[in-house]
Every structure is written in structure tokens, then in C-alpha cells.
Symmetry: C2
Subunit: 242 residues, 2 copies
């Protein structure tokens, strides 16, 4: 495995500092967790059962958390489907399977209202209770450019809020919200994860994976992932529904 010197800007202030890592069980957050471990943090992994269609990603998250040294993995139950407003949580809305989102399209129907803000807020609560100062967030602005809460200015704003919202933020102004893959392309993420030892066959990106975690191959998320492996010139290890 190569070193991760290119990620030293995300290094812990002290060896083994705790860090809360948002872990969906998908390709992006698995790569971030591998990076966090490699950088020398003590990872605490946080996942959500929020009413998503594709809960097999949580089984994937558990395996990945164990593999990359998370000392604890919490799965929070938080039913966002009662609010509606997204094809990911509302079974009455149809998932898009046409071509992937491009930068100047509108926000896609798979966007879940305020989901990333809610998840980051819970990560902030755990971070503070752990007396930690670091959160890692696998948002990506390139592939999902239509999602408002995957942009660098959003992450910066959340970090600013975090330093006003918490004891450690107010007293020391040291809370950091890291989004280390936010400006990477999918193929760059795949190349990075591969270098860090991520087994992508264990990750679930599909919006409508079955209970075994097998992917549909046609949804927007599957198509982005397929293109990523093609662009990275790596074999796609994803297990598809037959």
C-alpha cells in the first residue's frame, strides 16, 4: 500500500485522536474510512437507518467498519420517510434510471431534504460527547453536483456552525469537518480506495439493491459507479442482480 502523504492536510493533531466518520456503506464513505484509519485516527463510524430503500448498505457498512478499525459503529434509527419529498425514501416516487445528473441540471429527485445536515449534526453530537474535534464526511461535489449539501461551501458553512454550536468550538474553535474526496472524480475515488485496500465488492452504492446487497445496474448511482470503474481502467467488482 502506498503512503497517503497527499492527504496530510487531513491528518490528526495528535496520533490516535478520535474522529467520527459518516459511513453509508457505499464506495465513497468506505474510501474515506480507509483514509481516516491510514492517517492514524481512532475511527468511530456512524450510519443511519433513515427510511432508505436500500438498507442492505447498512450490512455493508458494518463489515467495512470492522475492516478499517472502527472502535465503535453506531447505526442511528431516524425515520425521514415520514417527511417525504425524496425518491430515496418515498415509495410513491419513481427512481430515475436515465442518464446521470450533470452540473447544470436541477436538483435530482433522489435528493433527501436536509439529510446531510441531519447526519452531520448527529456526528457533531457524538464528536462532542467523545471530546473529539474531527468529523469526516464522504460528500462528493463532482458526481452529485445537483445536491446542495455536497458542495465545499456547504461543508465550510457547517464547520463554521459547528464551532458556534459546541462547547469545544466555542472554547477552542478547533472543530474540523473534513470532506477529503469532495472535489475528486469517481474514478479518482476508486483509485484512491483501491490503493488503501478497500474491497469495493463489499460496498453498496445502488439505490435499490436487494437484501443481499446486489445492485440493479440501471439506477443513477449504479451508472455513476460503472463509469467510475471504466474511467479508472479497473475491473468493476460490483455484484449485480441476475
Amino acid at each position: 500500500m502506498n503512503s497517503v502523504t497527499e492527504f496530510q492536510q487531513f491528518a490528526p493533531r495528535h496520533p490516535k485522536d478520535p474522529a467520527v466518520v459518516l459511513l453509508s456503506g457505499g464506495l465513497d464513505s468506505a474510501t474515506v474510512l480507509a483514509m481516516v484509519q491510514q492517517l492514524g485516527y481512532t475511527p468511530y463510524a456512524l450510519s443511519f437507518r433513515y427510511g432508505q430503500r436500500h438498507s442492505s448498505e447498512l450490512d455493508a457498512a458494518s463489515k467495512i467498519a470492522t475492516q478499517f478499525g472502527a472502535v465503535r459503529h453506531e447505526i442511528i434509527d431516524l425515520d425521514l420517510s415520514r417527511f417525504g419529498g425524496s425518491a430515496l425514501t418515498d415509495m410513491g416516487l419513481e427512481l430515475p434510471t436515465s442518464k446521470t445528473n450533470t452540473p447544470h441540471q436541477n436538483i435530482p429527485i433522489t435528493y433527501v431534504p436536509a439529510r446531510n445536515t441531519i447526519m452531520l449534526s448527529c456526528a457533531l453530537g457524538w464528536m462532542e460527547a467523545l471530546s473529539a474535534t474531527d468529523i469526516f464526511f464522504g460528500a462528493n461535489a463532482v458526481d452529485f453536483s445537483g445536491y446542495p449539501d455536497c458542495r465545499p461551501e456547504y461543508v465550510q458553512s457547517f464547520e463554521h456552525l459547528a464551532n458556534l454550536a459546541t462547547r469545544v468550538g466555542v472554547e477552542e474553535h478547533t472543530v474540523r469537518v473534513h470532506a477529503p474526496i469532495i472535489t475528486m472524480s469517481k474514478s479518482q475515488i476508486i483509485q484512491t480506495g483501491t490503493r488503501l485496500g478497500v474491497d469495493f465488492s463489499q460496498t453498496v452504492s445502488c439505490y435499490q439493491a436487494n437484501s443481499l446487497g446486489q445492485a440493479c445496474g440501471i439506477c443513477e448511482s449504479c451508472r455513476l459507479r460503472q463509469q467510475g470503474f471504466a474511467d479508472a481502467k479497473l475491473a468493476d467488482p460490483t455484484i449485480y442482480q441476475s
Copy 2:
């Protein structure tokens, strides 16, 4: 009932606009909900079962929601006690019953890490799913000056985040996070609520109320409330444990 002309800065852009109101069942948020109704919004009330000791406040919240015209009242289950770090959710920590917090003390042990950020984030998700633009938040900076997430600069920062995090925020920059009682004293809140028809005997502020909603009379929150009625020169209608 007097008019609420003094609150016109919080008025809806259009009559009957929907607004999400965080409603704990305590004195402060009951007053805010009464104000929201009086201003002409269509209120959507949001409460949380977050592992707090005093869940009888949720029964109070339901009654108050109905009384002040909430068209829907959602109670979200979100177990923050698993993270620990607060005397409100951690049964291993003792609640303070000595004198109340003053501006220059440290953050009190009853502070729940990131609780307000998590609650506001959920309100933001519901707001966006409702195609609304307004959130009401009963934070108060005067009595709870030791809580970082009850200060005006915190609320401003959350509003800034909300306009980066959501579809409506990015497209129209119109999300408003109102904290109409944030700079009021407890006695001013009580006077306002009384004018607006709030029956404070139905509200529960006590950190360790019993299952009937009867207050202990000795915790920090009870003491602040007692002092508020005394300062307002109004009879305290709170029902105490005998």
C-alpha cells in the same frame, strides 16, 4: 387578547404560509407556537423523543400543538442517550439543583451535545419537504446563556447554512430561522405567552417531571421558571410533586 404588532418582523410573507415550529412542551416553545399562530402561519409542530429524562413534556407538547392550531404534530424518535455526555440523557450523571446558571459560568452539565443543531436540521428537512421557508425555534440566550446553541450568532449561522443546504435556499435564498424570544427574559416570555393565551399549567419545564408532568421544584429549570413568574408578578400555575 392584544395584537402582536411587536412581532411583525417575524410575520409570514403570505397569509397561511406553512412554518415548522420546534415544540418541546415547555414554557418557551409554547409561547413561540402561540405567536406563530397569531402571526397567521399554518403551524407544523415538531417534537423529539431523544432519550430525555422528562418525557411527560411530550404529552404537554401534544396538547399545546392541538390548542394552537398545528395542522400536524410529529414526534421524532432519536436516541441521543447512546452518545452520552449530558445529565439530561445520561442517568449516570446527577442533575444540578443548586443555583441557576449565570452568564459567565461554564456550559452546564444539562447541555445535550449538538441537540439544537440536530433538531433544527430535522426541522429543515421537514420544512423543505413541505415547500416551506420558515422555521421557529424557542431558544433563549438570557436564562441559558451557558448553552452555545442558544445564542443569536448560532441561529444566524444555522440560517446561513440552511440557505446553502436546501433546494429553496440555493435557488431563492429565502429560508428564515426565527428565534423570536432569544433575547427576552423569562418574565417577558411569561408575560407574552399570557397575552397570547398560553395556559402555562399545561407546559412542562422541569428536567425531572414525573409521568403526570408534575414538576420537582428544585432543578435548574424549575428555579428559572419560578423566578420568571415572580419577576412577571404573575401567579405560578405549575403543578408540583407533593
